[in-house]
């Protein structure tokens, strides 16, 4: 089973399932997973102001599904999940909902079983998978884990996922602070032989934004990972920088020897008036290395 963490929701899914669709909005959205042949699982979330009446909701839900053409609908339950299972277009579909007090999330989990594998519809598998779904409350360290597309990072919990680029061999998550002055990115890039034709230090230098001047460049090795880090700053005579502080750019890059993918971690942040460093932002590639800016 492969772990995923998205928007405070943690779950574990079969190794051959991949995330194929996602939403960024913490108030409501969904993530969808598929195996190599079809979509298999969808998880929807919605932040509610008050806990819902789940029993009544399940009844209404069943009635609506029957109205929508789901056949042989019958209720099912896996605490704390209430659900309905039935046949849609000849394939079995199971839908469950549960309310989680942490973050006041109402979650809906939808399993779509292969049409040709109907006899293999496996309620125990559904139960096992539902057991892995949990909504993680905000942590004391104020960090939130994100784990998808081969990226596992810890971002400050008040920072929002602003952008998620998921292309073949090129994944990048971008987080921003509520005032949008602080931006962090975590990236995982593959097919290095096809495009990386210079040293990592040189490549990292090329990531430094225009008009920033390099302050320092360093290198460290841990468990076969050669990690390059860079610090740069910009001084501009503009009112926003005078008010908010000078902006700093920090970055780290390394190639994980396990999957041969390049990991990049960057942060652009203004100096804080209280002199405290910005909140930590961490990216790990495997069990052996986690880099924190």
């Amino acid at each position: 089973m492969k772990p995923y963490a998205w928007n405070g929701i943690h779950l574990q899914l079969p190794d051959d399932w991949e995330m194929l669709q996602f939403s960024k909005d913490p108030a409501h959205g969904r993530i969808v997973f598929g195996d190599r042949y079809q979509l298999r699982f969808e998880l929807d979330w919605a932040a509610l102001d008050l806990p819902p009446d789940l029993g009544r909701m399940a009844e209404d839900y069943k009635a609506k599904l029957i109205q929508d053409g789901i056949k042989e609908a019958r209720p099912t339950a896996r605490h704390p999940w209430l659900g309905v299972t039935g046949l849609q277009d000849g394939a079995r579909i199971s839908r469950y909902c549960a309310y989680f007090n942490d973050r006041t999330y109402l979650l809906e989990a939808i399993f779509l079983w292969p049409q040709d594998d109907n006899p293999r519809h496996n309620p125990q598998f559904e139960a096992r998978l539902l057991e892995t779904i949990r909504v993680v409350p905000l942590q004391d360290d104020h960090l939130q884990e994100w784990n998808a597309f081969g990226i596992r990072c810890l971002a400050p919990d008040d920072h929002r996922l602003d952008d998620c680029l998921a292309e073949p061999a090129n994944v990048r998550l971008t987080f921003t602070s509520p005032d949008r002055r602080l931006e962090e990115t975590a990236a995982r890039i593959g097919m290095l032989k096809a495009w990386l034709n210079r040293g990592l230090d040189d490549y990292l230098r090329s990531l430094i934004p225009k008009d920033y001047s390099l302050l320092s460049m360093s290198h460290a090795t841990q468990d076969g990972h050669d990690v390059w880090t860079a610090e740069a700053t910009i001084t501009r005579a503009v009112l926003t920088d005078w008010w908010h502080g000078r902006r700093h750019f920090s970055a780290a890059a390394w190639i994980c020897p396990n999957d041969q993918r390049l990991r990049i971690l960057t942060r652009t942040a203004p100096d804080r008036r209280d002199g405290l460093p910005p909140p930590p932002f961490a990216l790990s590639c495997c069990d052996k290395l986690e880099v924190t800016l």
């Binding site: 190599r36 849609q88 292309e167 096809a194």
Partner: protein, 125 residues
């Protein structure tokens, strides 16, 4: 609860596409330049291209499609026996990609090659 986005089984199933077999255009002329390949395809003369229009509008008998390293690998794998799924698996192994990363890559490229007349895709042989 909202209406699910997994709307119908048909929408979410791409098994048939994976079982399709890409076939090379047998009329194509292939030139190799080291590890890369150029493919020359015969153009079909449009019906309207007759005198006097053809006196002013030039017609090229052939067009050249130059493939990069990725395209060349894809072209090589399209031998008339491998399915799209087999080609995706080969890309996963060659480039260290996940199945769906390779699927996006391969199907996008196949689509372009089909549009340019380099390949045809046989479904349900």
């Amino acid at each position: 609860m909202s209406k699910p986005h997994i709307a119908t089984v048909q929408d979410s199933n791409w098994r048939r596409m994976l079982q399709a077999i890409p076939e090379k255009n047998t009329a194509a002329q292939v030139t190799r330049h080291g590890e890369q390949v150029s493919i020359s395809i015969r153009n079909v003369r449009p019906a309207y291209l007759r005198p006097p229009i053809s006196w002013f509008v030039p017609f090229k008998e052939r067009r050249i499609v130059a493939l990069d390293a990725l395209g060349t690998r894809l072209w090589t794998l399209c031998d008339g026996s491998r399915t799209v799924e087999d080609i995706i698996d080969a890309f996963c192994a060659d480039y260290g990609l996940s199945f769906h990363e390779a699927k996006t890559c391969v199907t996008d490229y196949l689509k372009k090659l089909v549009q340019r007349g380099v390949l045809a895709v046989v479904i349900d042989r």
